[in-house]
Symmetry: C2
Subunit: 403 residues, 2 copies
């Protein structure tokens, strides 16, 4: 029998026992949001590819305007007009200027732009400049945003809208991403019926199957539903073997009775190697982890609340390891609305609601008997109490996680 | 000309000028994650529908075990064995017990379960109970999780995995949600080419189109791409009119030059009503908002960074108003890595990276010339400086938002 491990030990074990799959597929830019970048992205061009004005005004040489003012304008010859979307095909000689709209190219010979508000077009081919320019003023230089070779995004990042913008800017319309992980989901238990079926005496609907599939979808993996298996070692062994052959990972849940737990351990051990049986976390202790090669086989407790937290805390970090993903789950800070006691020696997790009161975020623990999933519904996040801690008093600041 | 409004005034204007569409469609449970619930969900049954054991053990009457101990066990007759997934078809008389696995139904006559660890099966049809039971011990009662009429989830919630679990528990396999908002996206500018095309002299790739579409997808709306329109009032008027006819909202971006901005104002005014021209926020000031009926027409600045923040701060809350969605963007707290100055009189937004240093979250502002989108790529969030504030010193605690 393997020892119960602490949450930190489990996360270290995950790092050691599994490695990134290193697979790559290419998707169009429009389908890239939410996907995991599989390679560093380097720019191959200058962005912008020309010096560009940031205002509507006159491009000119700063030194031709030194000392000018409302009272003594610098009078320059207007030699042209740059249109948006065209290059500046002419150059500007001394004591001259050219009109440029915001975003347009700056003609050769100019080193700044004076805003139109500080100028006066005399209508006779000359323009009065009422404020002196300075070199670089109101300009974006060629390559200010990106130059060839610059790393724009790092592999492992989950792509967000601003990243899509950057990829568009450098012309990357095909993006190398990690293929979605295919994760087999199996619910076990003689008492389970599918959610669409009315439970008979002693039966309950399968909550874990749909919930774990939803967690996987939110994460960006593809759940493969293997349905409900009754508590029969042979059937469970067959189903688990089938799932392991065609998926990148398999998540079993249920088997709440001791006999079935042992069967799951046995099956996982026989299919490959059992790595872990038991995590010092409440809820979630009877968790099993094994592998066949680099393919994780995860056995979750049957209680939905326990299954939920074990997926959040351990299964998703494990899947992130497989697709080389950078995980960053950042907590928000909130004051506890009431005291919360915990058992020394194991980490404890509780769902909570969040509410703003007097400009302060307040977390109210959701008190639930293990397994009562509807208590979790509508919760806003969860907080964790370390295993060295015996509880937190009312008003204690706690860190609340969700995503 | 309309006055520039403060961000608070804009959010109040959105509440006042637009109302929820109130449309409903039904989707299967597996497709419900991330969708906006369109109706309150009430349970119609008890969950569980029977009294249930939370442990493996013996169901019995507590009073038959009062005072028992290791030394003086209560000896009870074993009258049955409840199987998982079956009702308890028998009842348990006085001084008797029945074996129940975790999650199984409790036979009539019993009021608690004693864990198997505290019992001894003598093998002769009797069981020794070594610890006294207490009424309700190790039981979940019928309806403890849900009873008929209980509101399990409220309309407006964006459904997450735990909500999917609750819906499965009560047998809701068809979920009433708000149809995805269809949002037309139009980029304007003579200088723009599609991201897949190499820019010629004076041209740049369209960043806003793909980025705004990605923001809409992340939010759960359906972007409808109307492509790039050159700076021509007639063409822009036609395209905007077409988009407004078939979408729930239209977002224009670009038109950075003063003439085009005026054209956009004119077009929005002609199609319906101009509500707003200018928000006291940096970047993002030249934002336009109008409506035709309850359909918003939004004109964003052409600078990608400004467009990004205006979508996050104003366009998404507006879309949330249309689908009756509860928005909750909760900030994380971080210390500023360096001082950040701001202009009194307008709100200022800056992207930042987040890093953990010495157990503390540190936010480093991303310094960027307006429009430099690749600086935003890889950023972890943004913080906001109020318009009454002239800046923040190094180490000041700031609130960082992303989702």
């Amino acid at each position: 029998m393997l020892e119960v491990k602490t949450p930190e030990e489990v996360l270290r074990l995950i790092e050691k026992a599994f490695h990134p799959l290193g697979r790559i597929e290419t998707v169009p830019l429009a389908e890239a949001p939410g996907r995991v970048l599989a390679e560093d992205i380097r720019a191959e061009e200058f962005v912008p590819d020309f010096d560009r004005s940031t205002v509507d005004g006159y491009a000119l040489r700063a030194k031709d305007t030194f000392g000018c003012s409302d009272a003594v304008p610098a009078v320059l010859n207007l030699v042209g007009d740059v249109r948006m979307g065209e290059g500046a095909a002419f150059s500007v000689p001394r004591d001259s200027c050219a009109y440029v709209p915001t975003g347009a190219a700056i003609p050769a010979g100019c080193d700044c732009v004076v805003m139109i508000e500080y100028t006066e077009d005399y209508g006779d081919g000359t323009v009065g400049i009422l404020r002196p320019g300075a070199p670089g003023m109101n300009l974006i230089f060629r390559g200010d945003d990106v130059h060839p070779g610059k790393t724009v995004l790092r592999s492992g990042r989950v792509l967000e809208a601003q990243d899509i913008g950057a990829l568009a800017a450098i012309g990357k319309t095909e993006v190398p991403v990690c293929p979605r992980l295919r994760v087999g989901v199996i619910s076990t238990g003689d008492e389970l019926v599918p959610a669409g079926q009315k439970p008979g005496p002693g039966q309950v609907r399968d909550v874990n199957g749909p919930m774990i599939s939803a967690l996987l979808r939110e994460f960006g993996a593809e759940p493969i539903d293997y349905g409900i298996v009754v508590d029969d070692e042979k059937l469970l062994r067959e189903k688990t073997g089938t799932a392991a052959e065609s998926c990148d990972a398999v998540i079993l849940s249920g088997g709440t009775s001791a006999g079935v737990r042992d069967a799951a351990c046995q099956i996982i051990g026989d299919l490959g190697e059992l790595l872990l049986h038991g995590i010092a976390v409440k809820p979630g202790k009877p968790t099993i982890l094994g592998r066949t090669g680099n393919r994780p086989l995860i056995g979750l407790p049957g209680h939905p609340v326990a299954a939920f937290f074990v997926v959040k805390l351990f299964a998703l970090p494990l899947l992130a390891r497989l697709d080389g993903r950078t995980m960053c789950s950042r907590p928000v800070h909130a004051a506890l609305s009431e005291s919360f006691s915990a058992n020394h020696g194991r980490m404890q997790v509780s769902a909570c609601s969040l509410e703003e009161k007097d400009g302060r975020l307040v977390a109210t623990p959701v008190r639930s008997k293990s397994g009562l999933i509807t208590q979790l519904a509508g919760a806003d996040g969860y907080f964790v109490i370390d295993r060295d801690c015996e509880g937190l008093p009312k008003d204690a600041e706690t860190e609340v996680y969700w995503h």
